[in-house]
Symmetry: none
Subunit: 400 residues, 2 copies
């Protein structure tokens, strides 16, 4: 489906849409548990919501494909992740609130430790404190001189972002990270002719960086990966006529939201703050993306019972969203992160769409097993946005 | 899926297929009702059919997209409605049984009232009676002289259709309808170079029409919109080797059937006549499109209980179809028209495919809620034709 047809169908008027995205929500049964994390969690409010909703399962990318956070979020915002590709470097830059331009190539940076044999001894430089990272970024910014503008921004612990800005810089470069310790860092290498100039500048940068960092006890070198050029995507306002606000605790999700043109709430505290910010800004926007990170982090940790608790915490806040009276509430995930697998997985994610305009189905419990019997069936995640728009009465008829 | 591969797979031999299309069948629960229109209706014959069928839900266009009648019907005939686009003018011409040729450009016409200030005072000329419309069309046909052949056909009340016939006429013209009262009619304007000649002829037509209508009390001018060239689509015979008959009470559906090359039964009385005509012509065709309009009209009226009755009337006639012994009976809708919304909607439509060759599923009741648990799951409506062909044993194996 070519979503450009929505430009003719979407209306500026209509109800409000709230997306509650419980990152990595989808789970699996584990050990002695009676079901998945979501089945085990006590969720009286979600169960109540289900009785006025239509449910289903969503495939973030395609059945069997495990998505990263970038493509998984693009999909639920209606951007086909096989068409709208976001490089890792771009994602990292967006994640530190860096305002990318269309002249930029970004890469993820790891400070690392290289031994006297020239081989990587620690790919994460002993996870240096963020403070140390900041000092090193400043030192490199001051010390390095390049023929083109560049930015080096600390992220967290040993991670940073490098951005090169210039006309005609290609972004197709191989990683310099050898991925394993005991191997020397790789030379930057262009993967297409347009990226040769970028590779040269990166080589220059790394040589100077090596010299400047040589006396650092831990972080004496940089590894670069995920090089990518920034391409501007059409915004959700342009595609769907939705004025949108993102409320997210982690920079990367704010960056993803910025990529599709959402306004982004700058500072969020804990889960309760997210819901408070939603309430305070409710009159100002059409669409709200509320991102809840904990479900994913605890899944990645393999902490089944803590993930159950995280789900229960969200459940307690659901009435606050209902009280705002949105036309559409969507509760779903970007992807599954089963505690049993300690990683993202390919399993489809449960989705609940609450709206006075929905065709309520027979699903009684919001979970991965029940939802397939819901009225939505199994759908690609990119279809979620058209369903949300339709239920908010924001789409005109196609054809006569 | 590119349906051109069916040309190699489809066989001239095989069983007969009957499509019973209950227009706008899909509904929603409303008020005190215990379910949707289809759930509330007593349908013993459909329920019996279900026990020998495979069921599912169909998305006419895409989840969340509300279809017009044109695209919705094209989809169930297997014509991707995003690829096979029918202009509004063409649809209107089909709707009055006008036989379009590939030299034709058609537009929708509104008789309107223009005040002495030259501005549109009533876009519908007080909804003049159809009789008046007929008189005015004749008057204009007699009075206007154009360098090309033209046709002006009354539709209903203030609505008519204009068709220009000539070599090399483009159909990309802007509407002359200003859409709002208090503005003068717009000049015809070509949107591409191929349509300049058309715009000139239309301008000429409108000038003459203005003069001819100047003393009419209400309908003293015309507004044109939805200009479209007629493009011949490949027929169902060409695509599927199906010799097909359409039995429909309303001209627009006969027109849509003609668009995909079906033979069209010219005059139909009521519902019972439709089923009688089906029986009488059963030996002559491979495929039958029986269109039932009432379910849609009553949905548009918001008349829940009358829509329920309309469904029950159809149910009573089901045994007559069974008696004919077709290899495949499909009962479905082109789109949903819930009485609660009084309009077409985006909700998927229930489908039942009865055939001795189907894999009978667990669905016990033919309705919008149960069908999602059927063996077809949720499918795009364009997939219906290949399922029907397969169950009628009309498709050869793809590849070896």
């Amino acid at each position: 489906m070519d979503y450009r047809i929505l430009q003719d169908l979407a209306s500026k008027e209509g109800g409000k849409i709230v997306y509650l995205i419980l990152d990595g929500l989808g789970g699996l049964r584990m050990g002695e548990a009676r079901g998945t994390e979501l089945q085990v969690a006590r969720t009286p409010n979600l169960d109540k919501l289900v009785s006025q909703s239509v449910c289903g399962l969503l495939d973030p990318i395609w059945p069997g494909i495990t998505p990263g956070s970038g493509p998984a979020h693009l999909a639920i915002f209606g951007y086909d992740p096989l068409e709208f590709v976001v490089g890792r470097g771009v994602l990292a830059a967006l994640g530190v609130d860096f305002k990318l331009t269309e002249k930029d190539v970004a890469a993820r940076v790891n400070f690392c430790t290289v031994g006297s044999d020239g081989k990587v001894a620690d790919r994460r430089a002993g996870r240096i404190p963020t403070e140390e990272n900041r000092r090193l970024c400043t030192k490199l910014r001051d010390g390095v001189s390049l023929p083109t503008e560049f930015f080096l921004e600390p992220v967290k612990e040993h991670r940073a972002v490098l951005v090169l800005r210039g006309e005609g810089l290609g972004g197709e470069l191989a990683d310099t990270d050898p991925q394993q310790e005991g191997f020397p860092p790789l030379e930057p290498r262009a993967l297409d002719p347009q990226s040769r100039k970028t590779a040269e500048i990166v080589g220059d940068f790394l040589q100077q960086a090596k010299r400047i960092l040589q006396d650092e006890p831990k972080a004496n070198m940089l590894l670069l990966r995920g090089f990518a050029r920034y391409n501007r995507f059409p915004t959700m306002e342009e595609r769907y006529k939705l004025h949108s606000l993102a409320i997210a605790n982690y920079p990367m999700y704010r960056g993803l939201a910025r990529l599709v043109g959402m306004d982004v709430w700058p500072e969020v505290g804990d889960l309760k703050d997210e819901f408070r910010i939603l309430a305070e800004n409710f009159s100002q926007y059409d669409f709200f993306f509320v991102h809840i990170k904990k479900t994913d982090s605890l899944g990645e940790d393999g902490n089944f019972s803590a993930k159950v608790k995280a789900i229960e915490e969200v459940d307690k806040l659901i009435p606050q969203v209902l009280d705002l009276g949105p036309e559409v509430i969507v509760v779903t995930a970007d992807h599954s992160t089963p505690s049993r697998l300690k990683s993202h997985s390919w399993h489809p994610v449960p989705v609940l769409l609450f709206s006075p305009n929905c065709r309520v189905d027979e699903v009684k419990s919001f979970d991965e097993i029940s939802c397939i019997r819901g009225g939505l069936g199994r759908l690609p995640a990119v279809a979620l946005i058209t369903l949300a728009l339709a239920h908010a009465r924001r789409l005109k008829k196609y054809g006569a």
